[in-house]
């Protein structure tokens, strides 16, 4: 196991306050981490720290980045994207190869072939010359996965990838991610704890503080103890979630949803 990124006692936030406190986590090359937590709990801030988009207020971040090209592949939330922007699918994928100092060089036919092969793997190579606005949300999601993968990153980060994806592709996507995991570490942010806990190896619960579970199963006591208001997960043959609203006297900030075991009849 090689360490890729080490966050040590990191505190971070924006002008209007601290979002993350004393976060320590190590990401190694075989990891498949599910990042869960309530809205505003700091999931996206954690990703931005790892990507280097924001600097921590205190604490240190070490990146063991010794490869050419991009070290991290990143799939942003789709709401960030202007879908009417005049850009072709092929160009979106190639933009994953962009790095400092590569502004001048043109993309080789090898780069273009790689882009085409990735699109082909996702089953959308026929859309290479289309523009972003002509694609469905699910198709565009696949394009962005190709963009994240083209630089052969050591770490793949997906920010709520299931938002725009149809059910059939969602399942395919998780299977693909498990294949990718043989070659790279993966961090996936999701609200759908039930589904991701089925695929990930470990779970990081982010709610101002970060609690790291070295398995993909969280118990009721853990969630309650960590103040982590989340959907309930049950592990059976079919992953599904059971919701139950629950009043907690010690925390009025969130609607707590309580974890219970639920057995199939």
């Amino acid at each position: 196991m090689n360490e890729l990124i080490i966050l040590d006692n990191v505190t971070a936030g924006y002008d209007n306050g601290i979002v993350l406190r004393d976060v320590s986590i190590t990401v190694s090359d075989q990891d498949f981490i599910g990042v869960i937590g309530p809205n505003g709990g700091g999931k996206t801030t954690l990703i931005k720290l790892i990507l280097g988009l924001i600097k921590p207020v205190s604490g240190t971040i070490q990146r063991f980045d010794n490869q050419e090209g991009s070290f991290i592949g990143y799939l942003p939330q789709q709401s960030q994207i202007d879908r009417k922007f005049p850009i072709t699918v092929q160009d979106i994928v190639l933009s994953g190869l962009m790095s400092a100092g590569k502004g001048l060089s043109r993309y080789s036919s090898k780069d273009k072939k790689q882009a085409f092969d990735l699109l082909d793997q996702m089953g959308i190579s026929h859309l290479a010359k289309r523009t972003a606005g002509e694609l469905s949300g699910g198709q565009l999601q696949r394009v962005f996965i190709c963009r994240a993968l083209i630089s052969s990153p050591k770490l793949l980060i997906l920010d709520e990838p299931n938002t725009f994806v149809d059910n059939r592709f969602e399942h395919e996507m998780y299977e693909l991610l498990q294949q990718f995991n043989k070659k790279m570490a993966i961090m996936i942010i999701s609200h759908d704890v039930g589904t991701i806990s089925y695929f990930v190896k470990t779970i990081a619960c982010v709610n101002t503080y970060l609690h790291y579970h070295l398995s993909n199963i969280i118990t009721e006591e853990q969630l309650a103890g960590y103040n982590c208001p989340l959907q309930i997960i049950t592990h059976g043959d079919v992953p599904h979630t059971v919701l139950q609203k629950h009043d907690h006297s010690h925390d009025h900030d969130h609607d707590h949803i309580h974890l219970t075991d639920h057995k199939h009849e």
């Binding site: 990507l51 962009m98 400092a100």
Partner: protein, 278 residues
């Protein structure tokens, strides 16, 4: 037709239309793609303060306008990033402030302000050799920047945060492009005027966008539309003896409406075919 081309001022106007189509083709496609039309309108009008200052100090008003437009472009960006003032409000403030400063300076300038109307409404028929030289230099610079950095510009414009996560020089490029936007606006004020220059930056590009969806193709097609529309407008204004700037914009909009109608009819036809296929 050939007769009027023998006049020097008509030749100058054709050259000016050509150079304006080049610079506005690049920069217009950029601002339309990035949804920067309103900030460009703000920069345009704020530059009037520089024109007034130019008259007051007795220097070429275009240089005053260049300084004002670059400062207002940077100002809008810095104010909306560093303070809690929203970008569109910052644009509104600098837009009107520039105009006000211009009016005050022109009022304070003793005597008559020559060519004032040409700065407001444009005057493609009176462009000078100096104007053409400046336009030519800017056309070369703009073309060079786009040829060298096309992909970087495209990727940063499409997804700034992603570019930043790849350590691309996002801020450097944003300021470089803002400078180019400001300079292209100012140089083309001589052609289309403060009130009408935004048309060169938006109408041909929106027309092109009806047919093509790739930034590169929008740039090239909008240059062609822009030049064809300018020449048509120029000759119509010459024969009917009406203001050239306004006529050109009228032709631009006419082309846009015809193009929109063509697209509409084509879609209608395709829909009929697909219905009869069933």
């Amino acid at each position: 037709m050939a007769g009027i081309l023998s006049y020097d001022f008509v030749l100058h106007a054709v050259e000016a239309a050509f150079l304006a189509s080049i610079t506005c083709g690049f920069i217009g496609a950029y601002i339309v793609a990035r949804r920067m039309v309103f900030i460009s309108g703000g920069i345009t009008h704020a530059s009037f303060g520089g024109i007034g200052l130019g008259y007051f100090l007795g220097i070429n008003p275009i240089f005053g306008a260049a300084i004002f437009s670059i400062l207002s472009a940077f100002g809008i960006r810095l104010v909306s990033k560093q303070t809690d003032i929203r970008e569109d409000s910052a644009i509104g403030i600098l837009w009107s402030f520039g105009m006000a400063v211009g009016i005050i300076f022109i009022y304070l300038t003793p005597g008559y302000a020559p060519n004032l109307m040409s700065y407001l409404f444009g005057s493609i028929l009176t462009v000078t050799a100096t104007d053409l030289t400046l336009m030519g230099i800017l056309a070369i610079v703009t073309t060079a920047v786009f040829l060298l950095f096309y992909r970087t510009i495209l990727f940063i414009s499409f997804d700034e945060e992603y570019a930043r996560s790849h350590n691309a020089p996002v801020e450097t490029f944003n300021y470089l492009m803002l400078t180019l936007v400001a300079l292209v606006i100012v140089i083309n004020i001589r052609v289309a005027g403060i009130i009408l220059v935004i048309s060169y930056l938006t109408i041909p590009q929106s027309t092109a966008n009806l047919f093509v969806n790739d930034l590169k193709k929008i740039i090239i097609l909008s240059m062609i539309i822009s030049f064809a529309g300018s020449i048509t407008g120029l000759f119509l204004s010459y024969y009917w003896n009406i203001p050239s700037g306004a006529t050109i914009i009228f032709v631009f909009v006419l082309i846009f409406m015809i193009a929109r109608a063509i697209v509409y009819l084509r879609n209608l036809k395709q829909r009929k075919i697909s219905i009869s296929d069933r």
